[in-house]
């Protein structure tokens, strides 16, 4: 039972990180209708910068630089590329971001090579223990940060002018444009925000118990895609719930690997995708997604 509980709790914390990355996907999708495959490599850039800079300029400044850089890259992708073909269909836009992803991740693979770069976080490899449940400190902090960010974001979307603009752009871009909402500005904000979330997610995904930043981190971040699909693509709440589900499922599968050995080794990494496929069988638009209704 203790094992189950600590795995479940560990899974929730991992899920919180996925939720952050997933929120980035959803934010971009709601504001601009783009499924951004470059999110994984933006995350990788963020984590890489923290890994390289924490020694010369200190950990916190490095985090700030990484967040700013990730936001800037994300913003530039929108401003330089996506904006020019805004009217294109979803598939085209998604493949365009795949192209960006190939460029960024190739450059990152070249920079990092076979190295494993530590992020030098002050919480190091500490482990927090409460009532027999042991969780890495980095994961607890990640959970807290995610909670604060998600709450802040929800409040911002609900209460601020930016949030209203964002929601109306998501609801009906054309009408919002006619009402004087600057769609380009809303889009830029959403992309930058997604970059920020990616960099923070990257920091925690590369922290203990992970060894550090490797080129594979971009692929790890792909596990946020099942979370997004699970939640329904246009639902921020769904992204958070989806992230948590994915986190718990993958940690449980990895933890009970021996009992699940008939499913093969490394079932933890594929479990998110299996869950996604199962959910899609029952609900093609995800758990919380808007069902597409069509009228003639």
């Amino acid at each position: 039972m203790t094992q189950f509980l600590s795995l479940a709790v560990g899974g929730l914390f991992l899920g919180a990180i996925y939720a952050l990355v997933a929120l980035g996907f959803v934010t971009i999708f709601r504001a601009t209708g783009v499924i951004n495959f470059a999110q994984g490599s933006v995350l990788l850039v963020g984590a890489y910068l923290i890994g390289r800079l924490h020694d010369p300029i200190g950990f916190w400044p490095a985090v700030l630089v990484a967040i700013a850089a990730a936001a800037l890259i994300s913003l530039l992708v929108d401003a330089l590329l996506i904006r020019r073909v805004r009217a294109a269909d979803l598939g085209t836009l998604a493949i365009l971001t795949l192209g960006v992803d190939i460029l960024l991740s190739t450059e990152m693979t070249r920079e990092i090579g076979t190295d494993v770069i530590g992020v030098g976080a002050p919480w190091g490899a500490d482990v927090v223990e409460l009532a027999g449940i042991r969780v890495p400190a980095s994961r607890v902090i990640a959970g807290a940060v995610a909670l604060v960010l998600v709450a802040a974001l929800a409040a911002a979307v609900k209460l601020t002018d930016w949030g209203v603009a964002m929601r109306s752009a998501a609801e009906d871009g054309e009408t919002a444009g006619l009402m004087g909402i600057r769609l380009n500005r809303v889009a830029a904000g959403a992309w930058a925000l997604a970059g920020v979330l990616a960099a923070i997610g990257g920091l925690f995904l590369a922290s203990f118990p992970a060894a550090g930043v490797t080129p594979g981190l971009g692929l790890v971040a792909l596990a946020a895609i099942p979370a997004v699909v699970l939640g329904g693509f246009d639902s921020p709440g769904g992204a958070v719930v989806g992230g948590l589900i994915i986190g718990v499922v993958s940690v449980l599968c990895a933890g009970y690997q021996d009992e699940l050995s008939f499913l093969g080794r490394g079932i933890g990494t594929v479990a998110p995708y299996v869950v996604m496929l199962l959910v899609l069988l029952v609900r093609p638009s995800g758990l919380f997604g808007t069902r597409e209704l069509t009228r003639v």
Partner: protein, 356 residues
């Protein structure tokens, strides 16, 4: 073009294709074989993406089903050093079986591929690639795990597509495995192109294009949208399976790593560069994406700016990824319909000029 010159061109192409193995060295033959496998599979994806308007990131999975399916069906019955035991079927039967297997795998996905649309299908199919990798790594009794499995050479009516059995020398050129496979590949590519073109222009092809342009309009015209979408996915998986068989034969030994997420992306790149929906474009894109890293690697010693493998600087595989990453972005920004669109536009310009 009138009928007679067109026939002459066709004959010329056949003669050139038939004669090329006499001249090409083994590197080029190997590269061509990989390209041929990619062409067949890419045609399948371009039909799905361009004609049916569905996106799939699972293409590598179905290629793997074809490749491993062939290796298993044709493999020798006794497990040996070369890998796990197979069923020992005749190669041609194994080829057909592998393609059918990929088709069945595609059809099994139809509850999702029939209902989920466009990019959402792309995301859902992402799951298959990772699931496939997992199975390939773990089902060691069939796939040999990460060590992979040796692929039984192809053979037809006692003629082996291997280095011997029987020995063959034409115009003093010894015909080995690669030279013989070249002809098999050329025939399969020709069949794939022919079938693909016909499909696009046929009744089902037009029905699919209608589904792509508007599902409701299609349904109103009496097209069973769900069935057509599922069927498109199945046909595309069978293409992938055939491409997989060819790729497996070209490799001689297959390992799970070759069929991962990156391969799926490569296929999308081929289709986009060629212009989605164009069979010829997909073929061109497939050759470009497949051959570029191999060629750059081959000449990395003599090309400026490129480092030898393992050295610092930009390696051949990285350089080619940069090139085709940039190619995607450029194509989507400036020439949405890809290479085939560029060709078509220049042709129509010629026509206009000739009218003037």
């Amino acid at each position: 073009m009138s009928r007679a010159p067109r026939a002459a061109v066709a004959v010329g192409v056949v003669v050139v294709v038939a004669a090329l193995p006499l001249y090409l060295e083994s590197f080029w033959l190997q590269t061509a074989l990989f390209s041929m496998g990619a062409i067949v599979a890419a045609i399948g994806l371009t039909l799905l993406v361009g004609i049916a308007g569905q996106l799939s990131l699972a293409h590598a999975f179905f290629v793997a089903v074809g490749a491993y399916g062939y290796a298993f069906l044709a493999g020798t019955e006794a497990a040996g050093e070369d890998g796990p035991a197979g069923l020992g079927l005749p190669p041609l039967l194994a080829l057909v079986g592998a393609v059918a297997l990929a088709g069945v795998a595609g059809a099994l996905f139809s509850p999702i591929s029939g209902r989920v649309r466009g990019i959402y299908l792309g995301l859902a199919s992402l799951g298959l690639v990772f699931l496939g990798q997992h199975v390939l790594q773990n089902a060691t009794s069939v796939t040999g795990g990460y060590e992979g499995v040796a692929v039984e050479p192809f053979g037809l009516a006692g003629f082996g597509f291997s280095d011997s059995d029987p020995d063959l020398t034409i115009f003093d050129v010894p015909y080995g495995r690669l030279e013989r496979l070249w002809y098999l590949g050329a025939v399969l590519v020709a069949l794939a192109v022919w079938y693909g073109r016909n499909l696009v222009r046929s009744r089902p092809g037009r029905a699919l294009a209608t589904v792509r342009d508007g599902e409701i309009a299609a349904a109103v015209h009496g097209i069973d949208v769900v069935r057509y979408k599922a069927a498109a996915f199945t046909v595309s998986s069978m293409y992938a399976g055939l491409g997989g068989v060819l790729t497996a034969l070209a490799f001689g030994r297959i390992v799970p790593e070759s069929f991962g997420f990156l391969l799926s992306i490569d296929f999308l790149v081929m289709v986009v560069i060629g212009g989605a929906g164009s069979v010829g474009g997909a073929a061109a894109g497939a050759v470009f994406v497949t051959a570029l890293p191999l060629v750059l690697n081959h000449y990395s010693g003599s090309l400026p700016l490129l480092a030898e493998p393992g050295g610092g600087g930009i390696g051949a595989s990285e350089a080619s990824r940069f090139v085709y990453g940039a190619a995607i972005v450029a194509v989507l920004l400036f020439a949405r319909d890809g290479l085939s669109g560029l060709v078509r536009r220049s042709q129509s310009r010629e026509v206009k000029e000739s009218l003037i």
